[in-house]
Assembly symmetry: C2
């Protein structure tokens, strides 16, 4: 198992990816890594950690893609940055199973599109968002913002691709909802009204119907399908509402010394409030529809997150996620 | 000033509308009401309160439109319900200034469309949502769900109509944002990318650019413009995120007796958490683009809310809101 890791991706790079990589290598004897980042720093850390040289290769890179870089142009403007070299390595080498990075999502997506390409038959690659549910689980949404204007068949493909991913995660018959403005079949815009029967009548999907934005976190489905515009609006609005209330409560429990005394009685419980979000942020997700396995983990990932993400990627590769997605798409050819 | 009030609209009907009406009549000597609801109940309450008979009329109705009724069909299936008779009265009588109701939004909207009609030139009537901001103010969004598939000119009209409303509310140059997935002009779907320059180049509008769902509650604009699908997704997702965090915090501050002791130190502050939402829910809003003044107040309105809503409606009527909306639309004729 050989995975490329972007050592300069994420807020805590390069320390967090390096530490995570070392931890993952120590734990998984069958893992090999191609580390793309500053060679001297990586070499020093790996030698110090006593990692055998046969377990890793280094592709030297000094520059990172930033959130301020235009995501579609980084391959041209920063051809030697770690992410560009990681994609090039993924493209060139046959012996590589996957690429894991915590760099900007938009750049990861355009790297997939322009360097690696889509699985034949896939109309549009899609982004997955991972959100917490009230029952302590997770719910995924796709497309989270890669495709603004979608045709009905794109959404059907998003559902099929994410369905394979969720099955690899161990969910036998993922419950799939369609983001709309009412539960009944007739509710929604032209797009969702066209997509509804397509999802319902597809024997490979466990479609539960429309789902509204205020019900998604109830955990009544495992996957929410949407066009990328509404999906992105959904994810950001949810965040906006959550932060708004969170700030109000924080002020209420700790805005004065008097209230802080009260918070002493709630300390552990208040600490737990963040957990569902932390849990959701910790998870990584593949870029759906890419010809090779490309996995994005959160920009705020710490060493532990990189270590567990590497293990997740191993699972995806071992379970042949890309091949399964390809098979699911090929099983139902869709006209443009 | 003569206003029709749906006495059977809202969760606390008929008591809350009746009490609110009595309070408003007592406070405003120039107000007259046409009350649509159960005649004996209304008469008894009004006589008991000592309201002069010249101040009110009653149109008898026993049935209400429910949330479970199909909003587009109630005029046919419940022709004698209070809302249907209220719309009929608004249509028939020349001496009436406005109609205020707390019944289901969808039904209020179809009443406007099928009984009263649009202002000439208005392509589509639109719904306003009112949301709290972090700075303690309010922000409005339109369309909140009346129009699923929108052409660019619809959104421009939504902006123009709501702009007049906000000016009537005393905001001199309402700051208008366009709901999208990124701040830059190029971000969004085909619709928002087409609408952006139209809003920017309109001299009657104070357009501040795109706004993302997680920024709306920051209070950086007074109005957010959107198609009805994304707008509805936005409002519901925001609510979903807010409730999710609210539940987590409630559990943290009162899930056990020990934590409840802590909450004693925070009692007043915790009570304040709800205030911004209460404030937003208390506000009423006109149905934009309707030929006559139709105002919807929240389904959970209490007597006090009905009283203040009646005063708000008086302001809208006095300020000639409908005429101003008509003038704003006529000032810029748009092709279909």
């Amino acid at each position: 198992m050989k995975i490329i890791l972007d050592v300069l991706g994420g807020d805590a790079a390069p320390a967090a990816p390096i530490e995570g990589a070392i931890a993952a290598l120590k734990k998984n004897a069958d893992l090999q890594l191609i580390l793309v980042g500053p060679k001297p720093t990586i070499e020093e850390a790996f030698q110090k950690a006593g990692i055998e040289e046969s377990r890793y290769e280094i592709v030297h890179a000094e520059e990172a893609v930033l959130n301020t870089d235009h995501p579609a142009n980084f391959l041209r403007t920063k051809p030697n940055c770690s992410m560009a070299l990681a994609f090039q390595t993924l493209k060139d080498r046959e012996d590589v199973d996957a690429f894991l990075g915590a760099g900007p999502t938009g750049a990861m997506l355009s790297g997939c599109i322009f360097k690696i390409g889509r699985i034949p038959g896939v109309k549009r690659p899609a982004l997955l968002a991972t959100l917490p549910t009230k029952s302590g689980g997770l719910v995924r949404l796709t497309d989270a913002g890669a495709n603004m204007d979608c045709k009905p068949e794109y959404l059907v493909q998003f559902a099929k691709m994410a369905n394979e991913y969720l099955k690899v995660l161990g969910i036998e018959k993922p419950r799939i909802g369609l983001l709309s403005v009412g539960m009944e079949e007739g509710k929604g815009n032209e797009l969702t009204k066209t997509v509804f029967p397509l999802l319902r009548d597809d024997p490979s999907l466990n479609f539960i119907g429309n789902i509204e934005g205020d019900k998604v976190l109830d955990g009544i489905c495992d996957l929410v399908v949407s066009d990328g515009f509404a999906g992105n609006v959904f994810v950001k609005s949810l965040e906006g509402g959550a932060y708004f209330v969170s700030d109000l409560f924080k002020e209420a429990v700790s805005g004065t010394w008097w209230r802080k005394i009260g918070a002493l009685f709630q300390l552990k419980a208040l600490g737990n409030v963040k957990k569902p979000f932390k849990y959701a942020n910790d998870s990584c997700a593949p870029l759906l529809g890419c010809k090779k396995l490309v996995v994005k983990c959160h920009g705020k990932s710490k060493a532990l997150n990189f270590a567990s993400a590497l293990e997740e990627v191993m699972t995806y590769a071992r379970e042949h996620l890309v091949e399964k997605v390809a098979a699911a798409i090929e099983a139902t050819p869709l006209g443009e």
